[in-house]
């Protein structure tokens, strides 16, 4: 049971990581990061059944922080869209992506 959950969350985490590395659309990259964070949440909840309540507590903090991060991140993506009319990171070459 615990192994299944851990393997599932590890898979989700890897999918998120690969998404950030492969996809070039800023919004999709950002969503893949959210997927990574939620994979970690799943790990926390699964482990929490085994070792205590702290893990579930941690999940609430992660969710709150992820929401704050989304607010700032989307604002930054909007501000770059105003300059370039695109969110494809390959078209930003001032700083050699």
């Amino acid at each position: 049971m615990i192994t299944d959950s851990l393997v599932l969350s590890a898979l989700l985490f890897v999918i998120g990581t690969l998404g950030v590395l492969i996809r070039r659309n800023a919004i999709i990259m950002f969503l893949c990061i959210e997927l990574m964070l939620n994979a970690v949440n799943l790990t926390f909840v699964a482990l929490s059944r085994l070792v205590g309540i702290d893990g579930q507590l941690f999940v609430f903090f992660v969710m709150t922080v992820a929401a704050a991060e989304a607010a700032v991140g989307l604002a930054i993506i909007i501000s770059i869209f105003r300059h370039y009319e695109t969110v494809d990171v390959q078209s930003f070459n001032l700083l050699k992506w």
Partner: protein, 510 residues
Amino acid sequence: MPLDFTTNLDYVWALLPEIVLCAWAMVVLVAGVWGSGDERGREAPGPDDGQRSWDLGWLSLAGVALAAVANGWLHGVQEVGPGRMIGVDGLRLFANWIFLITAAIAVLISLGYVYRQRLQSGEYYGLLLLATAGMMFMAGARDLIVVFLGLEVMSIAVYALSAFNRRDRRSAEAGLKYFLLGAFSTGFFLYGIALVYGATGSTHLPDIMTSVSNGSSGSTLLLFGVGLLSVGFAFKVSAVPFHMWTPDVYEGAPTPVTAFMSAGVKAAAFVTFFRVFLVSFQDVYTIWYPVMWWLAAITMIFANLIALVQTSVKRMLAYSSVAHAGYILVGLTASSEAAVGAALFYLLVYAVMNLGAFAIVIAVGNQGEEHGEIADYAGLGRTRPVLALFLTLFLLSLAGFPGTGGFMAKFQLLLGAMDAGLWRLSVILVLTTVVSYAYYLRLAWYAWMREPANGDRAALTGVPLPMRLALAAGAAVVLWLGVFPSATLDFARASAVGLVQLGGAVGAVP
């Protein structure tokens, strides 16, 4: 005054500097909005906008000073009972001084820039103070939850700061890059925390240590957790091969933000790196020690070689900051009291001298982003001799020239490393330092020995008063720590005591 952590009220006292900074950030934010009218739509600054921008800058400096008073008061308290979430120990107080000095100098060098670039000053200074508070939470944390919260308070504020100049597309790009890669690294960091939590059953650092020494040290979960935590920290301190965001973000972000980031964020990440790895994972030292060894070696070699071929001053300083991360990692690899104390001292000196070097970049850039190439510094010694003098001092300190704080810090670090038996790493440190002389002195050579390009140096505007204050204070600190380092060094060493019980490196070089 004793602080008893069984009563919740004493947590308020223990967190006084952080609380003061957070509250003051709110004051600055409100003061920024108060009576500002419809500033955003206006292209040119109005008659009173400039004055408000300066007032807010001095106001936030007052907040930093208040937090410094609170931090000084914390020196006199004793801890009673278990501080579960936050510690009142030497490491936290020393780290807080680094952050407060960084914030103060960053505010001083921002004043002219924020005014000239017409940035929204209330938000700018508010975010600066909040980022500083996040650093302080992170460095004082005794629980991985607080480490994570502090890391994010700091990072989110700095993401916003690096994208702050909305008229400049390079700033927006730097913000996006920093945000995506920073959040990406947070994912690794968090997964590491989750796995460590699963292996040890706790997020409290001393409890993790107990659990690790009681035999869970061999478990796969713990090893993966420690590995992922190292990746997360390596991103934040920008060690090679996790440094790829550093040059781009440092170049694109507004220069005062770059200065603040390179000094403060790095110091916060390193102090927490030390605390987590030396407190919790000292019993698996033999496992992470080779990783740190290689990380330090690759970072020093690679960053110094790449810095040699840079043409932009900000990019060169970015690679120099990566190289300094490598030097400080030597302290973690040695993980003896002397080496960690020297690394903490190094962080303080590095923060001041790096802020000073970036202050010159701002001054030469006319409180903006002009004259960014190394060639633009030609003839600075003739046209602006005082600026060139300060530039030379900070560059010499960064390079580690005797008589400056940079030399003393590097020398102590070298002693600590050799004491711990890290001979090959010490040799790499010395050799890469010699290489680094080439690019630091090249900039100084341009400033003193080259003729000005085509007389456009006359376009250089005057240096505002707060910038002069920051330069003078930075130079004084760098020289003082170079000539009379013993008091500060003792403080740094005392902070490292108790953190490290290993007593020097074990085993040979991998």
